[in-house]
């Protein structure tokens, strides 16, 4: 922003307008092109009520299987999360602009995007092909797929820390690792915790696709019930998932209070 050079500032404001134009055009295209009858939304109320009524009362006869499936899902989610935390710590660090030169962080960032981009179903098939049936391919698929997101989150968290204390430690002769440990880590620990717990929660729910690899988690049950219109059973499982997620949310709040 140089008030002394009007040309430059005009150019700058044009640069700022560009993205808005592109985004605006995309929205217009999306909105106009598609045959969406928004009128249908108007009289959806009754139908939604009817749909929900089919979920009540939840069919609790499957409670036992539901609990087993939940434990299985939890197990896969926990192990998958551990895997993706390890991978994300390494890749997230490499992808952070404030930590590595552009020649490293740009390709790593792209790689993470790529890992996210590969559809989970394909990853799951690949893992079944690689290690067979059972929980293991599920865990690997989750770990792989989740790393694409969590690694990005970690990189964002690293980039978001206040640079002044990092510079101060660098000035004192601290090595990269030491700066990470003593200036970056204390600042980003709460964010990291939040992101990791969040990803754990997502992993728990991605068991939807994990039915693919045997053993049968909650998601697999829900999917099957929904496909066979047994909404009252799906409701039971959904309630369990919701309870667990709320529990995680509680734990999250508690942990963050500790780490603040």
């Amino acid at each position: 922003m140089k008030p002394t050079d009007p040309d430059e500032s005009r150019r700058a404001s044009w640069r700022a307008v560009w993205p808005s134009l592109v985004i605006g055009a995309a929205i217009l295209w999306a909105g106009i092109g598609s045959d969406i009858e928004l009128s249908r939304v108007a009289n959806a109320g009754g139908r939604i009520a009817e749909f929900l009524s089919r979920m009540f009362p939840p069919d609790l006869s499957i409670a036992r299987e539901a609990v087993d499936a939940t434990l299985e899902t939890l197990r896969i989610a926990i192990l998958g999360t551990i895997g993706c935390i390890l991978a994300s710590a390494a890749l997230g660090f490499l992808a952070a602009e404030s930590m590595t030169p552009r020649a490293i962080n740009a390709p790593v960032k792209a790689m993470l995007a790529l890992m996210r981009a590969i559809p989970l179903i394909l990853v799951a098939m690949l893992m079944v092909g690689a290690v067979g049936l059972g929980p293991l391919p599920g865990i690997l698929a989750i770990a792989f797929h989740a790393t694409g997101m969590l690694g990005k989150f970690y990189a964002d968290a690293i980039e978001g820390v206040d640079r002044a204390p990092v510079a101060a430690l660098e000035s004192a002769g601290a090595t990269l690792l030491q700066r990470l440990r003593y200036a970056v880590w204390p600042q980003m620990a709460p964010d990291l915790l939040r992101d990791t717990v969040f990803r754990f929660e997502l992993n728990l729910r991605e068991s939807l696709i994990l039915g693919v690899v045997g053993a049968g988690g909650v998601g697999f049950y829900i999917q099957t019930y929904v496909r066979s219109f047994q909404y009252d059973k799906a409701a039971t499982l959904t309630i369990i998932v919701v309870l667990i997620v709320l529990l995680i949310e509680l734990a999250n709040t508690w942990l963050r209070r500790l780490s603040r």
Partner: protein, 265 residues
């Protein structure tokens, strides 16, 4: 480097720097030699380039032109100096640069990081020497009392003293202090300046500090350098710096239309 170099803490020749996107140089045509053991006060109006010059000497300024040798190490305009060089130069930041969520003690201990082995530090293994240096630094800065408090629960002056103690704990050969007494009461301010001076005397290290309190600064310096609009306007003994000169230094910067006020006493 020849042996003769070691009598110089820093040698700058024809240094220029401009922040990206700016129209004016932040420092320009700086020629400067710091002798080992000197205590140099850096004064000059706000925006004169004091912080910029100090960060140059600390090896943190990128994109400068000209020659800069600090403790026999030639600075590179494109990258930070190697670790052992950085450890030799200490810096007290104008805006403190503390790790907010860490305790006072942890912040001060961070000053030791340049001296411990990589792995030891990662697992919080500091030597006895480290611990005692940290304790001494905290005692000297008067912050032992609240050494376990978090840095973000302190008053402004307390925070500033944590920044000072961190630098003391580092035991650097060249100590650069950017407005180290801005938030300190007069007694503490004098004590800190005295302390920094003593530390320098004890270890034949070198001190350069900036300050907006020329009277105080002159009392604790062997040499005063005044910056104005990025250039050196005065470089000499404190004694020769009289009111007239001082008034000139502060009045002469662009964008200042101050009336000439009493500056000393």
């Amino acid at each position: 480097m020849t042996a003769a170099d070691s009598e110089f803490a820093a040698v700058l020749t024809g240094v220029f720097h401009r922040y990206p996107g700016e129209v004016r140089d932040s420092i320009s045509a700086i020629d400067l030699t710091l002798r080992s053991g000197e205590r140099v006060a850096l004064i000059g109006p706000s925006g004169a380039g004091k912080s910029t010059l100090l960060s140059l000497l600390d090896g943190r300024l990128r994109g400068f032109r000209g020659g800069a040798i600090v403790l026999s190490n030639a600075l590179d305009a494109r990258r930070a100096p190697p670790r052992n060089e950085r450890a030799k130069v200490g810096f007290i930041f104008q805006e403190f640069a503390l790790v907010e969520r860490a305790s006072v003690r942890e912040n001060v201990r961070n000053g030791r990081l340049g001296r411990v082995t990589q792995m030891a530090a990662l697992f919080n293994r500091f030597s006895e020497a480290d611990h005692s240096a940290v304790d001494r630094a905290m005692a000297d800065a008067g912050i032992l009392e609240f050494s376990e408090k978090r840095a973000d629960c302190l008053s402004g002056g307390q925070r500033q003293r944590v920044a000072i103690a961190r630098c003391l704990a580092q035991e650097p050969q060249l100590m650069l202090a950017d407005e180290p007494i801005s938030n300190l009461d007069p007694l503490r301010a004098e004590k800190i300046l005295q302390l920094l001076g003593q530390t320098v005397g004890r270890r034949n290290s070198t001190l350069m500090f900036s300050s907006h309190q020329p009277v105080l600064a002159m009392r604790y310096a062997d040499r005063v350098i005044a910056l104005n609009n990025g250039s050196i306007a005065y470089d000499g003994s404190p004694e020769k710096l009289d009111r007239v000169l001082l008034a000139e230094i502060y009045a002469n910067d662009k964008g200042s239309d101050c009336p000439s006020l009493r500056l000393v006493g």
